[in-house]
Symmetry: C2
Subunit: 345 residues, 2 copies
């Protein structure tokens, strides 16, 4: 028996979740000696991703959405990189590095019918890139940036791209891909340090939306108007951006994090501009665009290796820090992709 | 000299325009005997279209939009069907029936550099269809229905289409094309007579949004949710429809007439569903899709001749009734396409 501490979804939050109330730590164990049924395997979690959408899964089971509600009193789950420590499944060998949906736990016992949740990612051993990259820039958030900007933003060289939550897991990559594609790139973020980072990684303009006037800054930094808005936050920011949008502008709705932890959503008054400016406002979910995965992995791996893009992460240490790490993301305390390191190889 | 009464744009309105204040009647004359300079021609107005977008042109010259502001103290203009009464232009012969942008006036003297504003439409003489059809179901509003539903709605057989302002110039055709394409079609309108008409022309469901609860009616009449919303009104209606939209729903933003005559636009609170339902909300302007014109004319002419579609119009009589006819449209007093008959052939 070895320790298998887990994070349990223990109560549905109405606003921000709290540690010990909505997410509780359970000290459990797992038997790594027992025989595994056919096609089962056990993954030891190495690094774990906490992401804003998880807040959406902390809801009542009856409310439908694109990703299922977490089961109450069961471990939470998310994208992880792990290593196979035991396997009775031909597709997974002991010591394989895998990527997939694992428990918020030190270990995930994967039954046969869920075996598809992980895929081997052994190239991570030789790539020279940190393992955490595989849940960030090379994982779901990276793919989100790639799909959202390219497939939905339909960027044309010389256009202006504006990104909110621009220093985050998705945003920092959106902006850097924008520069690779020859766009004028502007971003906003919630602290001066984040803004400085954006300029460092090549954004043409950046501002702190908490201390500066968004309208004035958009006028200054997007003198030709906004052609593509990569929407991560929603609410008042969206209203502001619509006022600065060009004709035929694309508003790629990736997320609206400012509205996740409130029961009073912010109103928007200027949608009439959708007609007068012929805007396209469109939502997408990354998992529904697997046809772009091969190109995404090839391009982003290359850009990372070539130093064309950089990728900032904030790491929390140990499974017990996962709940707070998620809350940090929802409150904007993360700087770059928030990961939780659980164990090393 | 013959009478050439005109409607002059005389003042910029802030809410609803008024006759005699923002639109004034000017009793003028035109000389039909004088020689015309090269490539000039004169159109006698037969029937005139008044359309909601004209409210948008009654603005200050400095404010940019997709269609230019009317010039203060000059005649208003819009789609007309007319007959050439004098011409020094090879492309236009006396007695040609023409369609194009003419003055709100009994006659339009078209100078060489604006000669492109009209096109001959002599088939109107033999088609057996009323001339007014050529500014309605076979004109700009008809084309709007065709382009909006087909190109932007991307309808698939069996889907649910919901149309607001459904008995109007655009809406009644949208719904009937929806039926031709095999959709479940629901509409709303502002009076019980309009609702009865919608059922008569084949809508599967219809309701009076002024006397019934929109939410309850959408639940009842769109039991499988809404796949395509043909948006004509905006405001609270849009918010309601988003709540009833299916995943991957298309909201085709044609107009938002409920917001044209107010300085207090209605707020919308539920745009977060754009992400969770992967909605596409898109605006379009009919004039930017000329590639569909040939198909539009062919299909709609055929449907009309075959009796597959019907098209209701409300006619005002005489140029002096044009201002009130426009106000009627903005206030929902028209029933079907509002036209103004100026003269007969
Ligand atoms: N559609 C998809 O498939 C998909 C996939 C992944 C992510 N997403 C969405 O993409 C967005 C970014 O996700 P991420 O993983 O890259 O997270 P992230 O940006 O790394 O972290 C979230 C950031 O959002 C900002 N934020 C938090 N509360 C805010 C508020 N009230 N107003 C404005 N900004 C606020 C904070 O940055 P500041 O300090 O700059 O405020 C915070 O650091 C989220 O909306 C997420 O739901 C969508
Ligand atoms: N994008 C384009 O290229 C394009 C081209 C043409 C038209 N349009 C737009 O399409 C829409 C319909 O135009 P149309 O020519 O077919 O006009 P219409 O429907 O024949 O006439 C306007 C109708 O709008 C409804 N209405 C008026 N005020 C309203 C309010 N406050 N709330 C809800 N409904 C109201 C009324 O019908 P009820 O009695 O049912 O309320 C009225 O009869 C308009 O928004 C127009 O601007 C766009």
């Amino acid at each position: 028996m070895v320790s298998n501490t887990q994070i349990i979804f223990s109560k549905i939050p109405t606003t921000f979740p709290e540690v010990g109330e909505h997410m509780t730590i359970k000290h459990d164990t797992i038997d790594l000696e027992a025989e595994l049924p056919e096609n089962h395997y056990i993954v030891k979690t190495l690094t774990l991703s906490v992401d804003p959408y998880m807040r959406g899964r902390m809801r009542a089971a009856g409310t439908k959405s694109y990703s299922p509600a977490f089961d109450l009193d069961k471990p939470m789950a998310g994208h992880t990189v792990g290593v196979i420590v035991k396997s009775n499944n031909d597709k997974f060998k002991v010591d394989d590095i895998v990527y997939g949906i694992g428990h918020f736990a030190e270990y995930t016992h994967v039954p046969a019918q869920l075996a598809f949740l992980f895929t081997p990612r052994n190239e991570a051993r030789e790539s020279g890139l940190p393992l955490s990259n595989y849940i960030g820039v090379l994982g779901m958030p990276g793919m989100t940036a790639y799909v959202g900007l390219i497939k939905f933003g339909k960027p044309k060289k010389g256009e202006t791209l504006y990104v909110s939550a621009a220093s985050g897991a998705v945003g920092q990559l959106v902006g850097q891909i924008g520069k690779v594609l020859g766009l004028h790139v502007v971003g906003s973020a919630g602290s001066d340090e984040k803004v400085a980072y954006l300029k460092e990684i090549g954004f043409d303009g950046a501002f702190n939306y908490k201390t500066e006037d968004t309208n004035a800054k958009l006028t200054e930094l997007c003198p030709n108007g906004i052609d593509i808005y990569f929407e991560n936050v929603g609410g008042k920011m969206l209203e502001n951006v619509i006022n600065h949008s060009n004709n035929f502008g694309r508003i790629v709705c990736c997320g609206m994090i400012s509205q996740y932890n409130t029961t009073n959503p912010e109103p928007i008054h200027n949608l009439i501009q959708i007609v007068s400016k012929r805007l396209r406002i469109e939502g997408f979910i990354v998992g529904e665009h697997p046809e772009m995965e091969a190109d995404f992995r090839k391009d982003v791996t290359q850009w990372l290796k070539d130093g064309v893009i950089q990728y900032r992460e904030t790491a929390a240490e140990g499974i017990e820090s996962a709940p707070q790490a998620l809350i940090d993301v929802l409150k904007g305390k993360n700087f770059g992709k928030q990961v939780v390191n659980i164990a090393s190889l």
